[in-house]
Symmetry: C2
Amino acid sequence: MSAKLIGACIFGQSGGPTSVINASAYGVIKTALESEAITKVYGAAHGIQGVLKDQLYVMDEEDPEELRYLLHTPSSELGSCRYKMADPDVDVTDYKRILEIFKKYNVRYFFYNGGNDSMDTCNKISRYMKSVNYDCHVMGVPKTIDNDLYGTDHCPGFGSAAKYIATSCMEINKDARVYDNKMIVIVEIMGRHAGWLAASAALATYFGSGPDLIYLPECDFDMDRFLADVDDLYRKEGKVFVAVSEGIHYADGSFVSEAKTSATDGFGHAQLGGLAGMLAEVVKEHTGAKVRGIELSLLQRCGAHLASETDIEEAFNAGKVAVENAVDGKSGYMVAFERENVDGRYHCEYTLLPLEKVANYEKKVPLEWINKNENGLTEDFIEYALPLIQGEPDLPKVNSLPRYAKLKKVLA
Amino acid sequence: MSAKLIGACIFGQSGGPTSVINASAYGVIKTALESEAITKVYGAAHGIQGVLKDQLYVMDEEDPEELRYLLHTPSSELGSCRYKMADPDVDVTDYKRILEIFKKYNVRYFFYNGGNDSMDTCNKISRYMKSVNYDCHVMGVPKTIDNDLYGTDHCPGFGSAAKYIATSCMEINKDARVYDNKMIVIVEIMGRHAGWLAASAALATYFGSGPDLIYLPECDFDMDRFLADVDDLYRKEGKVFVAVSEGIHYADGSFVSEAKTSATDGFGHAQLGGLAGMLAEVVKEHTGAKVRGIELSLLQRCGAHLASETDIEEAFNAGKVAVENAVDGKSGYMVAFERENVDGRYHCEYTLLPLEKVANYEKKVPLEWINKNENGLTEDFIEYALPLIQGEPDLPKVNSLPRYAKLKKVLA
């Protein structure tokens, strides 16, 4: 093996925030600061936008003790973006600019932390740098509460979101059944195309206090069948608790929430929302029941106070493994998770997956984990998800409220 | 003092659930089970409705270890109700029925756990029993996330809800500022007439990650001034985080959310909701900004995983003190909290307040704790609220999810 590549690194965060994306940041930054091959550690302000705008924070200037708080600070502390890179075969403007910045700071390592779209960005940068013979090791660090990245058993961020959703559903279920009256509750959970998050509500049901019915975007939604499901339970029990994925859609592919949709995000994805309220209206009209719609909204992706310690550890390790492998000469990969069973216990192995294999594929909940009525999950899903929510982090608090990282963010 | 009154007791839960109302239940039940004067401990199913319907659970049949889980089980485990008792001077039907049940089970102690309306119920029952010379000691145990009970420094349930709101606002604030774009977030918080809960969002701001603007029902809401406040910050900062109480109203008293109102609860209170979405629409139209409305909904009142240990302890003690005083011969009182400063530290003293003094009064946030622009809180509020959210409970969990009480609920 040739001598190690020596130079600076840039780390960037991209896409929707999670409870543990900063744990991956800490994994990358700490390992990079300790690496002899890496001369300087830059954090890009708002992901690739910070590279393009030459807005880089010098991580070497931060207090190492303060950086540790990143393990329990939700959202993307360096700032995130939803910036769609052009195809380098069509338009190289952005890539030339990135190369210019890489040369300016002698950047030889690039770590990008995000979901599907971010791995696409990462892959394009990797290909471009190769095409212009600029020696730079590029690694993707996975992140997405949506859990839809291809080629990895699960994604950092999912376990904590799943734990937030399961715990909140247990509490909502307790609350919704308190009066001696008839009542229907509809909870809307994130997940545009993959139903992993809404499926997590099944953990609450498994432990005796969760939704009666769960609808995922993996199956076509049929309003008549949905109303019949709800009506049936309502007549039998008087109380119905429904969880729906924001991405449920009719057989023709149109989102159930579509009537409420107006804006789109930077990638042309429709911005969904208002589904719970809309379904509540439909169900109220159909059953005459008192119906409450609840949207877990941003809370489910930033609820760091309910993070899974397993998720935090794996997110940290994903960042650490990315740096270690890049320094060892690897480039063009995303860190992936492989689930192993060691003496009957869950164990996570870290592997590398070529970026071009992962970019732009979406992994969905296997249809065989959805019950035959398409309104609930089987025990296979519980077995899959349960290990991912385990462990209680030792949250730093001041006055019984979260103590987040306070970075100096010194610009390069 | 005369010999102790010997007989059974009934405990009931009423009104909206909280994270700690079951801690009060445990305080009453445990103390009553251990009391020599109390021969049997009944829990009414769905509050006073369970008495009227002769649906009483025998608490003596429960496993004492299982009852302990009530300390961390949200919502009202015995079931709650919103049942308005008639004025006994006008219609004694319900009171006669209650007397019949009391006689049937030799009930000599009645403990009722709830907010304003429940203290009114409690007071009416106490007066009726006296008027018919039925010897029964009646005690109210306070409870309300709204924190609006008269004559008590604060109410069990408020501290935990405040902690949930403050923590969630800190997380939402982190999430809302992640992108390098302009963005307005509006969070709707419970509180029909008193703004204590929305005010709690100021704790998040005080610790560096909370709403920029907070609007309470204690002040008349002026839409033009509100839009000017938001617009001003939006132009300066690009990001605005607003918290509003569901009960904000115009100078004429009409609720801002009123257009969205249809149903009313059992007491004729308007059922509010949909305010965040409505204000988001108005702000979007006015500023052209991307605006997200978030309703904390039921989550804020049942978020036991974020309960304040101080709140749990005080809720337990409120129940305990109610039983101890009733056995000692007191009747017609509500347990109240007095704040003391012991060597510079917060301390809670338990006192008794005549029920007729507390029933149907609403305690609001003092106007001098609201800033002069009527869009934020002063440090006096922080000093008041901070001690109430302190302490991390040792939550029983199974598989990293809450383990709630599982009662047998054997009917008498």
